[in-house]
């Protein structure tokens, strides 16, 4: 599959189910948990959607609509984490992880991006990524 690499200032959007959103005791969403970025067994890369693929006024909203139109079973109470390539890279390089950010369109999502070389079993790094690199969260209900 031919790949284009994403630029440092580009953003990627990741679907996050309710159980992996970080909440306070009153169920207010305050971010995402590190487990939102954990690979499932057998997954070779972290699956995301490239926002800058859409040359529109609302690339994040368009990326979310692309996710909704994909094979992912988007639940009403879910959210999306938005990460910046450069900030993800800083956190991962600090732990000697080299990530490749590849645009790999798929049949169900033309803006699909694969984050290859993703850490498999480093909970501390995943929590740091959730805190510092994927630092914006959008609720599914807030995007028409």
């Amino acid at each position: 599959v031919p790949s284009n690499y994403l630029k440092p200032n580009h953003r990627v959007v990741r679907y996050v189910p309710w159980a992996k959103l970080r909440k306070d005791e009153d169920e207010n969403v305050v971010g995402v948990l590190g487990v939102a970025f954990k690979l499932r067994p057998g997954e070779a890369y972290l699956s995301t959607t490239w926002a800058e693929y859409f040359p529109t006024a609302e690339p994040i909203a368009d990326a979310i609509r692309a996710i909704r139109g994909s094979d992912i079973d988007v639940r009403p109470k879910s959210g999306y984490a938005i990460g910046i390539v450069e900030r993800i890279d800083i956190e991962c390089q600090a732990r000697s992880r080299k990530i490749r950010y590849c645009h790999e369109s798929s049949a169900d999502n033309p803006a699909h991006a694969a984050l290859r070389g993703w850490p498999e079993d480093d909970d501390e790094l995943l929590e740091r990524l959730a805190e510092d690199a994927w630092c914006e969260t959008v609720l599914n209900s807030s995007v028409p």
Binding site: P17, W18, K23, E27, G31, G34, D73, K77
Partner: protein, 224 residues
């Protein structure tokens, strides 16, 4: 009708009595009533999950031995979520005397939300009962005034997360009183982050250098 525990952990249900008790009301309906009652009792016994097998004895033409498992059909995801939720609430209720009513009701609300069919990702494994045991025991041991936010990993591990400003504590509740914790917080003017594995019995002591009361104290109401 009699019940006895065999030496092999099998609960035989003797239905010969029902054959002997065929009444004038109708032998077949009487037999079916007895059998239905037997199955209900066996199902209740099976909640504690020792292997239970129903064994018929005596001559009962046309009715063969069966197992309670074979009577079950595969449950839908909403049914499985409901069962998990019910079992977690029942377990919590057994320690209700240690929890304030408002705390417990808030916790139940969080469980309702976590395990709602509107919110659960069908790709994820349901939270493991062993993980919930650890979560509940941890909450009893730490006795936090502030409840954690609840989450779950894709492989059935429950997660307790406290967030106060930019200070974060995340605890993965593993089976058998084991926990994995990750934190980041301000300490002596510097940003600290740490992670580790622990048993529940050591957790409070391990967290103590990071002043965990910042997470566990009740939320301060804004002063007017």
């Amino acid at each position: 009708m009699s019940f006895s525990q065999s030496t092999q952990g099998v609960l035989p249900i003797d239905v010969t009595a029902s054959n002997n008790a065929l009444s004038s009301v109708g032998p077949l309906s009487k037999y079916l009533d007895d059998l239905r009652r037997s199955l209900q009792i066996a199902t209740i016994a099976n909640l504690s999950e020792p292997p239970v097998r129903i064994r018929t004895s005596g001559s009962t033409p046309g009715i063969s031995a069966t197992s309670s498992n074979s009577l079950r059909t595969k449950k839908s995801l909403p049914e499985e979520l409901f069962d998990s939720l019910a079992s977690f609430k029942i377990k919590t209720s057994t320690v209700a005397m240690y929890l304030e009513d408002s705390w417990r009701l808030g916790f139940f609300k969080q469980l309702d939300s976590l395990l709602g069919s509107e919110s659960w990702d069908p790709e994820d494994a349901l939270p493991a009962p062993d993980s919930f045991n650890t979560l509940l025991r941890m909450l009893l041991l730490l006795s936090p005034e502030r409840r954690p936010g609840l989450g779950a990993s894709g492989d059935g591990i429950l997660i307790a997360a406290w967030t106060v400003g930019s200070d974060r504590l995340t605890i993965y509740c593993l089976p058998k009183d084991q926990v994995k914790w990750v934190l980041s917080c301000e300490l002596e003017g510097a940003r600290e982050s740490a992670a580790g594995n622990s048993t529940l019995s050591n957790l409070r002591e391990i967290l103590s250098p990071y002043r965990p009361e910042r997470w566990f104290r009740a939320k301060q109401l804004p002063q007017t």
